[in-house]
């Protein structure tokens, strides 16, 4: 299997990936945000499918999800908005969301839609490895979707190896024991964790998420990892500035 994610992972540079919640700040901002991010030089985008009960997220992404749902965002509407996205956007697009909305849409139907639109992968924090392997791996593969698993500082080496073996794109490396948006800067603990993971020589590159918010944390995170994901900090930028100054935010990172 080879999609836009793999092509990007094979490039030499460190990757900047941005997460945003679809339907925030306004219902129909989705396409403009994606286009502006690509035009600003972002390498990859995680499109957040909002959920009423986002367990792994801190207040910033929770609030953006609540607003997006109030704005009327649904799975169906998101797919409609993205219908023609590949006419203008060529970087990898990943949908990140919780499992229940996908389950209600129908997992196969969801994956099929993703393929039609040109989505390259999925990140589903509450779909555990064993359930994915037993019930959904074949469907994801059928529709050419990369499934991205998370590891954390508490994940055992044995399990990291299992996850590496089950991955087919990159590994989402959660920077610290926390929900999204809650740490300010990286300390010694993170540095040694980043080094420890790098020394495992995993088959799949790692992209660091949680706690990346500016140039400094981006540089720290990508010293050993292939790239980094910014979520809450970008949402905060949207909250403060709307969708007008996306480029200035991205330029402040690199």
């Amino acid at each position: 299997m080879n999609n836009r994610i793999h092509t990007k992972l094979n490039s030499d540079k460190k990757l900047l990936s941005i997460y945003f919640t679809a339907g925030y700040p306004h219902l129909n901002d989705t396409v403009k945000i994606i286009q502006d991010l690509e035009n600003s030089g972002v390498d990859m985008i995680e499109i957040g499918l909002p959920f009423s009960d986002p367990l792994a997220d801190g207040p910033t992404i929770q609030d953006s999800s609540t607003t997006a749902l109030k704005n009327g965002m649904t799975t169906e509407i998101l797919f409609e908005q993205l219908q023609d996205i590949r006419k203008t956007v060529s970087i990898p697009l990943i949908i990140m969301g919780y499992f229940n909305p996908m389950l209600q849409f129908g997992v196969e139907e969801f994956c099929k839609k993703c393929q039609e639109i040109g989505i390259d992968g999925l990140i589903i924090p509450d779909l555990p490895l064993n359930v994915y392997q037993e019930q959904y791996e074949a469907i994801f593969k059928k529709y050419g979707l990369t499934n991205v698993f998370l590891i954390t500082p508490q994940t055992s080496e044995d399990r990291i190896k299992k996850i590496d073996a089950a991955s087919n794109g990159f590994i989402y490396m959660v920077s610290s024991a926390s929900v999204t948006g809650s740490k300010s800067g990286f300390g010694k603990e993170q540095e040694s964790y980043f080094k420890r993971i790098a020394s495992l020589n995993l088959k799949h590159p790692q992209i660091v998420g949680f706690g990346i918010k500016d140039k400094k944390t981006f540089v720290q995170a990508t010293k050993t990892a292939k790239g980094a994901i910014i979520g809450s900090a970008f949402i905060k930028h949207l909250t403060a500035n709307g969708t007008d100054n996306i480029e200035s935010f991205i330029k402040s990172i690199r």
């Binding site: 009960d53 555990p128 508490q154 929900v179």
Partner: protein
């Protein structure tokens, strides 16, 4: 048909552990160790000693003569309302605090809706000298002031859940987030038979003391261990799970569940999950769940704060789907009338949750010689203001 949990953590199609990777080490450690720890001799000894001396068990199995005469069946009440802290919740918190100690945890978190589980958790933390943080929806904090005060007196910190609808499901989300942020030293005491495996099974086993006692108590009174029916109210379903547990495989015993219909099952203000829910994922397990077509979890309603949860434990979903249990739902009005009836006929003021179980007589007729055991899961002190407002007693 198998009604107990299987080795993968499922009850039929329901259950499992749908958790983010951040929680995996904690939940996995618990999964590997809970059975072994729980059935260690020293654990059992300490657990049962505390249930006896501290909680006041066994709780009486009381033959309610006047209620029986009224409804034409032999009705026994399992008096969980007489437990220390006033409800069945403490059976589970005693068990889980001993579990937490053996896992080497030094900090406890819990979620609470009406405050009963929060009080039961704060109580066992005071008993063992362990730090306790209870998450409670901001809306619930305002309407359950006496229980907030009790938790504070017991030394717990009550943290408001400010997200979403600011009620029980959001308090549960906040507790889970706290656990993600504190993965090493903290144990999460879930209060109902919900959550990722092994929680539903662990909570059910700690609550199964209820049906264990029913068996020998009924034998003493009636010369038989098995009633014709066991009846309980269901929110998440921990008192029901404990009441049913030792009767699950004995199909001569009818199992009856009463959910909260709120203002009516189809009123838009209801918590009757079996009638209104679809299979989905909530708080780490696959179960029946009230949600929109788009898979967003909706806000339930019941006059009883302990029953307004949008899901139901996975064991109960299986009992419902397999037909092993009969599910009914009682409206606010039916429950309140039944609570008042028990007060007048037997001198027992029940919690409004338990009043839903008593409302079964508005939905089902029994034979005069049927023996029924109804779980009286809690006492009504905490609900006095609601009773006062409803019946204009003041």
């Amino acid at each position: 048909m198998k009604y107990h949990v299987d080795e993968k953590g499922y009850y039929g199609e329901f259950g499992g552990a749908f958790i983010p990777e951040m929680l995996y080490p904690n939940v996995e450690e618990l999964r590997q160790k809970y059975i072994e720890i729980m059935y260690e001799e020293s654990f059992q000894k300490e657990f049962h000693q505390l249930l006896k001396d501290y909680v006041g068990r066994p709780s009486p199995l009381y033959y309610a003569k006047r209620l029986s005469d009224k409804h034409g069946a032999k009705i026994y009440l399992k008096r969980e309302d007489l437990n220390h802290t006033g409800a069945h919740k403490v059976n589970n918190t005693i068990g889980q605090i001993l579990m937490a100690k053996r896992l080497g945890k030094t900090r406890i978190i819990a979620e609470t809706g009406a405050g009963q589980h929060g009080v039961a958790t704060a109580t066992v933390c005071a008993l063992t000298g362990i730090e306790c943080v209870v998450y409670m929806g901001e809306v619930d904090i305002a309407r359950q002031a006496p229980n907030v005060a009790r938790m504070k007196m017991l030394g717990a910190e009550v943290r408001p859940a400010l997200s979403g609808s600011r009620t029980l499901k959001d308090a549960t989300n906040e507790a889970i987030r706290d656990w993600i942020n504190n993965p090493v030293d903290t144990h999460y005491i879930i209060g109902s038979a919900i959550g990722p495996h092994p929680y539903p099974d662990m909570v059910t086993r700690f609550q199964s003391i209820i049906s264990e006692e029913i068996k020998w108590q009924l034998k003493e009174k009636e010369g038989r261990e098995n009633p014709d029916y066991v009846i309980a109210c269901i929110g998440g379903g921990s008192n029901a799970a404990g009441t049913y547990y030792h009767f699950l495989d004995n199909t001569e015993v009818g199992i009856i569940a009463v959910e909260a219909a709120g203002k009516g099952v189809n009123s838009g203000e209801s918590a009757a999950t079996s009638a209104l829910g679809k299979v989905g994922i909530i708080h780490g397990c696959k179960t029946m769940l009230m949600q929109t077509n788009d898979g967003q979890i909706t806000e339930p309603y019941s006059i009883s704060a302990g029953l307004d949860y949008p899901g139901v434990g996975p064991m109960h979903s299986h009992l419902y789907k397999s037909g092993r249990a009969e599910f009914y739902s009682a409206t606010d009005d039916e429950a309140m009338e039944s609570g008042l009836e028990l007060s007048k006929l037997e001198g027992i003021i029940p919690a409004i949750e338990s009043s839903h179980a008593l409302a079964i007589f508005k939905h089902k007729k029994f034979d005069p010689d049927d023996i029924l055991v109804i779980s009286l899961s809690g006492r009504g002190d905490k609900d006095l203001q609601t009773y006062i407002d409803y019946f204009k007693l003041a």
